[in-house]
């Protein structure tokens, strides 16, 4: 066993000893991955796992480095990029990936990618014509 492996195993036993917490975090992430297009909130997620929403928030952040909300937004933006590339309209994309208002979708998209949804789409479509 390499020194690296021994060190990883040591850290693992110190910070990831609670298998039950890990299962909950993984369960929440899977749930978001499969239901990102629906109306999700912490109350709903915590009810599934019989834990308080504050505990869930802390747990998720501890294991993934971001909050469930941030993870959900990143997921939706990633999915919306796929839809825009496939030629879906901006409005339809917005609702298909689970956002409820066009304004917040456009703002978030621009913040995360540096471009508005329509700029992104035009760029992708003109690229595929080259």
């Amino acid at each position: 066993m390499t020194l690296y492996e021994r060190e990883i195993n040591r850290i693992n036993s110190v910070i990831y000893s609670n298998q039950e917490q890990i299962e909950i975090a993984i369960g929440v992430r899977n749930y978001i991955d499969n239901n990102y297009d629906k109306n999700l909130n912490l109350d709903l997620l915590s009810r599934f796992h019989f834990v308080s929403k504050f505990h869930l928030l802390r747990l998720f952040k501890k294991h993934y480095g971001l909050t469930p909300r941030q993870y959900l937004i990143d997921k939706r933006i990633e999915k919306s990029k796929e839809q825009l590339k496939n030629g879906m309209s901006v409005t339809e994309t917005c609702f298909t990936v689970g956002f409820e208002s066009l304004g917040s979708f456009s703002t978030l998209f621009k913040t995360k990618t540096g471009k508005s949804p329509s700029e992104f789409q035009n760029e992708q479509l003109s690229r595929s014509k080259l």
């Binding site: 390499t2 020194l3 690296y4 993934y64």
Partner: protein, 131 residues
């Protein structure tokens, strides 16, 4: 400012290009000659070709401390660079069949799975899958 490039020190650029494209599956993005037979050669992942570029830089041959650091990491099995994959198990199977040597077989830590292999150019590379 934007992050668009990460570099990997390699002993032999020719060999590295072969390993990273033919075995790992990266694609050459830029390849231009520099002085003394060195090249500025960057790669991208085939499924994310507008993503960050990976520079195969011949540092260890020209700057001793770079070589010393690389050797020290290799000796203790420490990866300095990691790549994300959809399935660590599937990549482990695929790469093992192609003769790639793993110092850490697929293992779990918290919410991720990882494995470490030797890139034959002086580096340990870690594959990571978030679960």
């Amino acid at each position: 400012m934007k992050v668009t490039l990460i570099s990997i020190p390699v002993r032999d650029q020719e060999k590295a290009v072969k390993f990273y494209t033919e075995i790992l599956g990266f694609k050459i993005k830029k390849d231009k000659p520099l002085e003394g037979g060195n090249r500025w050669v960057t790669l991208v992942s085939s499924e994310w070709q507008d993503g960050p570029e990976l520079l195969l830089e011949p540092g260890p041959n020209h700057f001793e401390p770079c070589k010393v650091y690389q050797d020290a990491l290799m000796e203790v099995g420490m990866p300095y660079t990691q790549f994300d994959v959809n399935s660590v198990d599937a990549e482990y199977e695929r790469l093992t069949k192609l003769g790639v040597e793993f110092s850490v077989k697929p293992s779990k830590m918290g919410t991720w799975k990882y494995a470490v292999f030797n890139d034959t150019c002086g580096n340990n590379i870690e594959l990571v899958e978030v679960i």
